[in-house]
């Protein structure tokens, strides 16, 4: 099968959906022909679809999402790009109080088919305003879907589903994933939300991980395999809806769970998944649940500092060994 990058996979999804459906359009800061997006995901799209459908905006995150909401409830399928995930904070009312709640507040009258694409994650030394993983913020808001693709294949299939769906989706990308290559078929496919993917089968311990942490978990699994520990890596692919069944099924098989995420530990992604398993599947656990997450600090700038706080392969190995 052909191999393309995560960035190219996202671009293909956007291009194909824009060709397929004239109501799909893109807006965001510097996504147009002058720049092609800060991470080049939309490069070339303005040339094909024009400046009206690949729309550069002022630096006004709140209005970018507000405009996205207004367009979505009146028949369009907008895909907004927020240049850095950290900057969703500027648009939080529009995301959490408007996009997420209009349908419910209006008794089901509104459909809010919009996608907010935004890159999260550290590892590129750009400090606390451009490095966070904030997926858990959006998991906490009923009405939003939260996608967290870790591979080019998942990125393309999930983005197409996000664009075609009738709910607001916070589509979380990861900066370090953009150049990562993977197999993506030429032919059309989509990936449903709420269906996890077992990225590696194993029998001794379940590691649930998302985004870039999936790759670190796979490396850790490789290392642990050499020591005779068989790790199953489960990638939920969407955090809302969450494929509880797949996680629980894996835990039933292995009896052990490590949850890995790049966000802060407190009230984060790992907290939710660990709590869910504790509540719904504790009888299948043979050992305490371990969480590997960021230690509740802002992301620091200097490389040794940043490397210290972002979970790595060693931390995952350590957590696995604690319970196996």
């Amino acid at each position: 099968m052909r191999r393309i990058t995560y960035r190219e996979a996202l671009r293909e999804a956007l291009r194909e959906e824009m060709r397929r459906d004239p109501t799909v359009f893109l807006l965001g800061e510097d996504i147009g022909r002058n720049w092609g997006g800060a991470f080049k995901v939309t490069e070339g799209l303005a040339e094909e679809f024009g400046d009206e459908r690949v729309r550069d905006t002022p630096i006004s995150e709140s209005a970018i999402i507000g405009v996205t909401v207004g367009a979505a409830i009146t028949g369009m399928r907008p895909v907004a790009e927020i240049m850095f995930g950290d900057l969703t904070a500027l648009a939080m009312d529009q995301i959490a109080n408007q996009a997420a709640k209009l349908r419910y507040m209006f008794g089901g009258q509104a459909k809010v088919p919009l996608v907010i694409r935004t890159p999260f994650g550290g590892g590129v030394n750009i400090a606390a305003h451009h490095s966070q993983c904030l997926e858990a913020w959006f998991m906490h808001i009923p009405g939003l879907h939260v996608a967290v693709p870790s591979t080019p294949y998942d990125a393309k299939g999930l983005l197409k589903t996000a664009i075609r769906g009738d709910n607001p989706v916070v589509f979380c990308e990861h900066k370090l994933l953009y150049p990562v290559e993977g197999e993506v078929p030429e032919e059309e496919y989509t990936i449903p939300f709420g269906v996890a993917d077992v990225k590696r089968e194993g029998s001794d311990v379940t590691v649930v991980a998302t985004l870039y942490m999936v790759h670190k978990a796979l490396k850790a699994a490789e290392t642990l395999a050499k020591e005779g520990i068989s790790v199953e890596v489960v990638d939920p692919r969407t955090l809302t809806p969450l494929d509880k069944k797949a996680i629980i099924n894996s835990v039933k098989k292995t009896g052990r769970l490590v949850v890995v995420s790049e966000d802060c530990k407190t009230a984060g992604v790992t907290a939710e998944i660990a709590a869910m398993v504790a509540e719904e599947a504790i009888d299948y656990l043979d050992a305490p649940i371990r969480r590997v997450a960021e230690p509740d600090t802002p992301i620091p700038f200097s490389p040794p500092l940043e490397q210290y706080v972002i979970p790595d392969e060693k931390a995952i190995i350590r957590a696995v060994k604690e319970i196996v």
Partner: protein, 327 residues
Amino acid sequence: MEALSTSNVNLSREKLVEMYRTMVKIRLFEEKVFELYAQNLVPGTIHLYTGQEAVAVGVCSALRKDDYITSTHRGHGHCIAKGADVKRIMAEILGKRTGYCKGKGGSMHIADFSIGILGATGVVGAGIPIAAGAGLSIKLRKTDQVVACFFGDGAANQGTFHEGINMAAIWSLPVIFVCENNLYAMGTRVSTVMRIENVAERATAYGIPGVVVDGNDVLAVYEATFKAAERARRGEGPTLIECKTYRHRGHSRVDPARYRPKEEVEAWLAKDPIRRFRDKLLKSGVLTEAEIQQIERETAAEIEETVRFAMESPYPTPEEALEDVYA
């Protein structure tokens, strides 16, 4: 900024009567809501539109059925003026299943997408970029609809005001930004939070027309809106219309509005938009005293019917709280 006279408005008798009837309907509806509240029948809070009827009716009368509006926490008047069913508004205010939002929204979140009411937001200023988005949608879909975006003087100090109006301006979106300046954001007098006299002056900063109108003169509001709508339909972009008006009651149901000087209240009550329009209609012979009384009687009966409908409607079953989160 341009000054507006009402001399250019030439409306049919039918239209004028309809506008008057709608203003009366809003007034009687709101008074009824207040009465029901006093009887402890209204859960939560209410923000009454009494006193500002000329704004909603002036604006919405200049719109088409397929045009959009966005509304606010003080939104009953907007929705009635756009043609919403008062029975379903009242039922929603009482938390009933037959309400517009099946009891999930209440007084602050009335919406009727079938007639372009894109809903009322409870977050001050949040509707401004949403209205711009509806405008962008119109532009991309290449229809000739327009959007009227209602907000208050308080919202004019939100960041969304700047971001949303600027975006609508740079893209020439068909949006009419209607600032209802009723002089107070809750208890905060507008002059203490704004160093200019008129919100409309800010239009200059976005390169769009800013118009100040007497918000208690329904024909002045109509004319300004009609011009703005024509301009928007021609693709020439948004207009900011500031309607100077006054709420007759406090901010919300718990507010006796003691912060407003007595003389100020009296001066504004003397400028009651319904009385002014009625006098004009009587003087010009559009309506007779008997016809006016008939309109009031008919409207009062209609409002009584809304109360009966709302009171007799069932509450939603508790489990319905779990529905409508996702499409």
